[in-house]
Symmetry: C2
Subunit: 406 residues, 2 copies
């Protein structure tokens, strides 16, 4: 047995409470109801409302150029650094729906704005579900007054919102952190990794009662996402609808410094990202791939991501096979700095490959009884590292993704 190098935790040391969500921060109300978008009849319309005093907001969106109508709409909304509410529906992605789809997102924002007595330009819209189908706006028009009436500031209301955005998720996903000074960050997320297609969209709403200027909010959010959601890569596919929105109410009256805020955001985002990976349907293993000894963080991330996207590696892990040859094969396709004869690979603490060759016996690795798999690649080319989280490639993945929408 060799030493284990633990996968990094971008917010090590900060406690996160997964029983509270978007209403953990003061100044927010949330709600969730059954509007009727889902054929299955589950909750499918959620709202998060910022009652202020501040309306600062930031967001990051999918970089997919085939972006859904609500993404186009919401980009405009947050461009001025302010938003009063986020409305989210499951049961329809409103993607690839043309001008009519954009009009639907616009009308959705107008309806929420009317109910809240704010401007439509302050309402972020998120959608998730099937691509290429127009949203039934009759359902939306009837549902919005209901979900606004449902909105409340308590924990149960936050949980209702977290439930209403679920698609193939099996559990609602929430996280919150309260600082020693008394300001909080809360959040909710949906998405079962990218393992649940079409339905794969990751939607996240984060709230804070800290008093923060929009430009700081945007910078902190980008930084937190870069080391959390951006590093959770279940199947390499990118949705047309991914949206992470952060609203700041200022209700605590406290202005934390930027580093503190970024750490708290990272802690909450890290917890939500881990919940997404763990709930990835069809997955039998949660895999953390850490590349250490890299010449730069970018190179470390590239190597980890390349391994995470290798179908051969991912099927080997499903077969409980600590197949380091497939790890090396993937590493070899990158342009990161390394000497092939110097590469070490350890899997769950056993150094199965040492100096580019067979190392300790792979029989020492028992993947069959472990959902967690920690792969560490040591490039021996520098002092940087990065971890990517992914899942294995399983029969259930193929089943879910081939059966859907056909």
């Amino acid at each position: 047995m060799s030493t284990v190098h633990p996968s990094q935790d971008p917010a090590a040391g900060l406690s996160v409470d997964t029983s509270r969500g978007v209403t953990a921060a003061a100044g927010f109300r949330a709600g969730g109801v059954t509007a009727g978008f889902k054929a299955s009849g589950g909750d499918d319309l959620a709202v998060v409302i910022n009652d202020g005093p501040s309306a600062a907001a930031a967001a990051v969106f999918t970089s997919n150029r085939v972006a859904a109508a609500p993404v186009h709409w919401s980009r405009q909304v947050v461009a001025d650094g302010a938003a009063r509410a986020v409305i989210l529906n499951s049961g329809g992605a409103n993607a690839c729906t043309g001008p009519q789809g954009f009009q639907a997102s616009h009308e959705t924002a107008e309806l929420v704005a009317e109910g809240l007595q704010v401007g439509a330009g302050d309402v972020v819209v998120c959608s998730t579900g099937l691509i290429g189908v127009q949203l039934p706006m009759g359902v939306m028009r009837a549902g919005i007054p209901e979900v606004l009436a449902d909105a409340a500031a308590d924990e149960a209301a936050g949980l209702r919102a977290a439930r209403a955005i679920m698609t193939t998720d099996t559990v609602p996903k929430q996280a919150a952190h309260t600082s020693p000074e008394g300001w909080s960050v809360g959040g909710m997320a949906k998405g079962a990794g990218m393992l649940a297609p079409g339905l794969a969209t990751m939607l996240v709403v984060l709230t804070t009662d800290a008093e923060v200027r929009p430009e700081v909010l945007q910078r902190s959010l980008r930084e937190a996402c870069a080391v959390t959601f951006d590093r959770a890569d279940s199947d390499g596919c990118m949705s047309t609808n991914d949206t992470v929105t952060l609203l700041a109410s200022g209700a605590s009256g406290i202005s934390p410094d930027e580093l503190e805020l970024t750490r708290a955001l990272s802690a909450v985002c890290h917890s939500l990202a881990q919940q997404l990976i763990t709930d990835a349907e069809g997955a039998a293993h949660d895999i953390a791939i850490t590349t250490m000894g890299a010449a730069s963080v970018v190179q470390a991330e590239t190597v980890s991501r390349t391994v995470a996207r290798s179908n051969l590696f991912k099927t080997a892990i499903f077969g409980n096979d600590p197949n380091w040859g497939r790890v090396l094969s993937a590493v070899g396709t990158t342009d990161a700095e390394f000497d092939p004869d110097e590469l070490d690979v350890s899997i769950n603490g056993v150094m199965v490959c040492r100096g580019g060759m067979i190392g300790d016996p792979r029989e020492g690795v028992d993947l069959a009884s472990s959902r967690k798999v920690e792969v560490v690649v040591d490039l021996k080319a520098g002092a940087h590292e990065a971890t990517i989280w992914t899942n294995d490639l399983t029969h259930d993945y193929v089943e879910e993704n081939s059966a859907y929408s056909s």
Copy 2:
């Protein structure tokens, strides 16, 4: 129904005979025997010998930086544009085997050279099988005299060689073209796409009796590979051992011009690449993704390859679902020139997506009864196009790749 745009054929019009292989060209002998590398007991050692008068040779190798010992050896062999023989074993990749592995490839070449009375520096070595295990050199030493004795110039001998390099391949793969002037190109290949991992290596030996200078040979080979093998992308994973070797005997006494040679090589390589895709184990559909209307060939190839590597798209096809939303999602992650609202996608001739939105009813596409799937993406941004060939992602893929080596 809309018009079908046929996927391009890089060697349209040239007839290819798949019943003949490396011995279709004059001046070559080939052989294949059971040496004992494979636990299963099948043929596992092959040779192709160039009896001249010319010894011109060219090769292309995997660009994986974790390259196997025989790749390191063979790169040196062909560096001077000459080679007399190719020796190929299945049942062991000799990859990630360190200095001992390189010594094994070197000794293999020495043994063949001794038997043929040529220099070891003129013997190309290829291996395929498990990564990380040393080759049993006793088996090699006993097998080489046998395979040299087996070598003959007839069609049956060519087929024996093609059989001896099979791993998870279900059929031997051969192709040959004879020009109206009387010179020929022959070839054999192994590899079941990349769908058969570890065993996934693609090994190809091409022969010609044309008289060609080595630099022309290398240029023609690169060009032919670029539009055939390089565009067959079964699962996006790259082997540590891939090798395509071309030997020219000059025995026909004819010197074709470079364009003619490239076309003939492309025709043979195209046939072999299609045979690889069709034999990809675990696959239920052979998929050709053509991107047309691109601003450049590179952009067309990038878009087609990105779709070919989308697990969501590949599982949809397995489910017989002509899911254009997943095609668009993949296209949207590239930086090719296009307007998302202008994209057309047709699947087996039905334009399921028109102008970035839903097009003709997908019910018009019957994938259940068709092994061939033709996807055409029209970017409407230029006049270039490229086709990538791939397979669907199936339960059998997961099964084979998770069960192997564990």
